[in-house]
Amino acid sequence: MHSLLHRHRGWLWPTLFLAPGVILFWVVIVASSAESLRISFFQWDGLGDMSWVGVDNYIALFHDPQFYTSLKNNIIWLVLFMAAPPLGLAIALLVNQQLRGLRLVKTLFFMPLVMSQVAVGVVFTWFYDPANGLLALVFRAMNATAPALLSDPQWVTVAVVIAGLWPQVSFCMILFMAGLNNLDDSQIEAARVDGARGFRMLYHVVLPQLRQVNFIAIAITVIGALRSFDMVSVMTGGGPFGSSSVLAYQMYEESIQSYRFGYGAAIAAVLFVIMALFIAWYLYRMLRIERGTA
């Protein structure tokens, strides 16, 4: 027995250690995705019989005005979320100094990350409350009436995105702080001797060293924007009248609340394609830059 183990250790141990991850990945990600894609070609209430409808779900989806509202909102999420990496970098640069008390400041910036997204959503809902919220207090101090942001179809998505940005900026800040800690001190010193300082130091010497961190920050921010769900669910439930819904939330609403699993699966498939295209493009671009400078 012992010699058997010994003889096969070249492949046995790697296989044993990889197995849990690989099995989980295939069951939870790959098989589920494939099953979801299959369901999108059926009409199904989640309990009863499934009936094949071909691409009818997709045709219905592309004629559904709610789909375009959700898609538009996803794009708003994506665009506004892009503020997270630069803001995170700015804060990281700010707190990355040798000053007394900055540890406390760092902790404060880090706070939203330890809080549950649901809690962040609830806090911001209160914050926006036009009667008793902090925002209302600010407006009242200026002798104005606070807008009911979460009931205004025009502003509701922006208001939700701002709530979502809070933890996202913290996350980017943490990434950049780790990156700044790993900067090569002697390169910075060399650049100081070379006369670089301030913005030019940042642009020519610091940012190039943060390129990998930057890549991760942007990729994770994009994915975060596209899969946004919890904030919408907690703060507005997609309302008013579906005006703040996003694809992920619409998918949930159709499948779980309206028992239209086939339709929900079709939305999931579209969201999947959008994400896959974006990530593929982004990876391709990064690889090209990497190779160009290799």
């Binding site: 002697s186 010193e189 400078t293």
Partner: protein, 386 residues
């Protein structure tokens, strides 16, 4: 006018004084090597000269201009780092031209300066490559090239050769020496390597525990160390030290009382304050010990170990009652450097000999008590001669 001057530089970290009133001035574009054991403050001193660390007191002057409060980029200096510190995302040419670019010089001027420096260092073929694609020696050249391109009045080197292998180190040492003769600039070179210090410097600044022990041309430090620390730091293999006592003192000399060694008298400095019974340390360089039976004083010993690094052989010898303190082998054996033509083998019995003139004597505080000696070699090569 001094082209470079340090005026009572002080640096403290908390309660600890890292640099204690360091002063130094050069007038004719010297090659100053700052050498000392690790932790002596030499790298901190270099960073203060560069402006990368603030000094707590004192001034740095370059060409008569007080630069103490200026940013590194405004001091008219360039620095070569131990880790090379090249910008990995830039080509060799961009690395070398970065300083001029930051100074807002026109592109044509930058290109000319880069090409000029590259041809001096023979790296013209690598200008479009990135640091990653270069070997350690080539990277070091680029780092030096980056410094040359800025044509500063003072070059600072922070242990630039310590990451290179031995053969390359020797070659770069010679090249930096030639570069110095070619460029009209002061060089401040920090190293822990005494060979680099002895071979490159016009003057050596030997530092220890935040202070300067001695400044002088290399041969002066070697032949006339002011104290026991300097005597022990320079020279490889190290000087032998033996603890002894003063037997008697007269106007010109004093007798040494050391078990196993009779009748040794050495000359004294007129200002040396010695009293019979004082504890002293005798110093004897390994190359001043003879194994051919000659010498005023003789010692019987037995060879315990022989090393043959090539040109000479180094033997560690058990000389009975005469024991070396802080000996290289930790066993109190005397280190002897002998010609390869007098072969020694382990367990051989040998007669060691030396002259009284070869002895250094240090008092309890470590100061040299024996008189100054004439330098047999002309002073180290300096700019005026070459």
């Amino acid at each position: 006018m001094n082209d470079f001057e340090l005026d009572r530089i002080v640096k403290r970290y908390g309660q600890r004084t890292t640099l204690d009133k360091i002063s130094l001035a050069t007038t004719e574009k010297e090659f100053i090597v700052v050498v000392g054991p690790s932790g002596c403050g030499k790298s901190t001193l270099l960073k203060i000269i560069a402006g990368l660390e603030p000094a707590d007191a004192g001034r740095v002057l370059i060409d008569g201009r007080d630069v103490t409060r200026l940013e590194p980029g405004d001091r008219d200096i360039a620095m070569v780092f131990q880790s090379y510190a090249l910008y990995p995302h830039m080509t060799v040419a961009e690395n070398m031209g970065f300083g001029l670019r930051m100074a807002g010089r026109p592109k044509a001027e930058i290109r000319e300066a880069v090409e000029n420096a590259a041809s001096i260092l023979q790296i013209s073929d690598y200008l479009d490559m990135r640091p990653k694609q270069l070997s350690g020696g080539q990277r070091q050249r680029v780092a030096i090239g980056r410094a040359i391109t800025r044509s500063p009045s003072v070059f600072l080197f922070d242990e630039p050769l310590s990451n290179l292998d031995a053969a390359l180190r020797t070659r770069m040492r010679i090249e930096i020496g030639m570069l110095y003769r070619r460029l009209d600039a002061t060089m401040i070179y920090v190293t822990h390597d005494q060979v680099e210090a002895m071979t490159m410097a016009t003057r050596i600044v030997l530092m220890n525990q935040g202070g300067i022990e001695q400044i002088g041309v290399p041969s002066e430090l070697y032949v006339n160390p002011v104290n026991r620390f300097v005597a022990g730091f320079l020279g490889s293999p190290r000087m032998n030290f033996m603890t002894a006592r003063v037997a008697d003192v007269d106007d010109e000399s004093f007798g040494v009382s050391l078990e196993g060694l009779e009748g040794v008298r050495v000359a004294r400095r007129p200002e040396a304050r010695l009293v019979t019974g004082d504890e002293i340390t005798l110093g004897l360089r390994p190359e001043d010990i003879r194994t051919d039976g000659g010498g005023e004083h003789r010692l019987a010993g037995q060879v315990s170990l022989v090393e043959e690094p090539g040109r000479e052989s180094i033997a560690y010898i058990d000389a009975g009652a005469v024991r070396a303190s802080e000996s290289e082998d930790g066993l109190g054996h005397l280190t002897v450097q002998a010609d390869r033509r007098t072969p020694m083998r382990r367990d051989d019995s040998v007669t060691l000999g030396f002259d009284s003139d070869a002895l250094y004597v240090f008092d309890a505080a470590g100061n040299t008590m024996t008189p100054r000696r004439p330098l047999d070699t002309p002073s180290a090569p300096n700019k005026a001669e070459s």
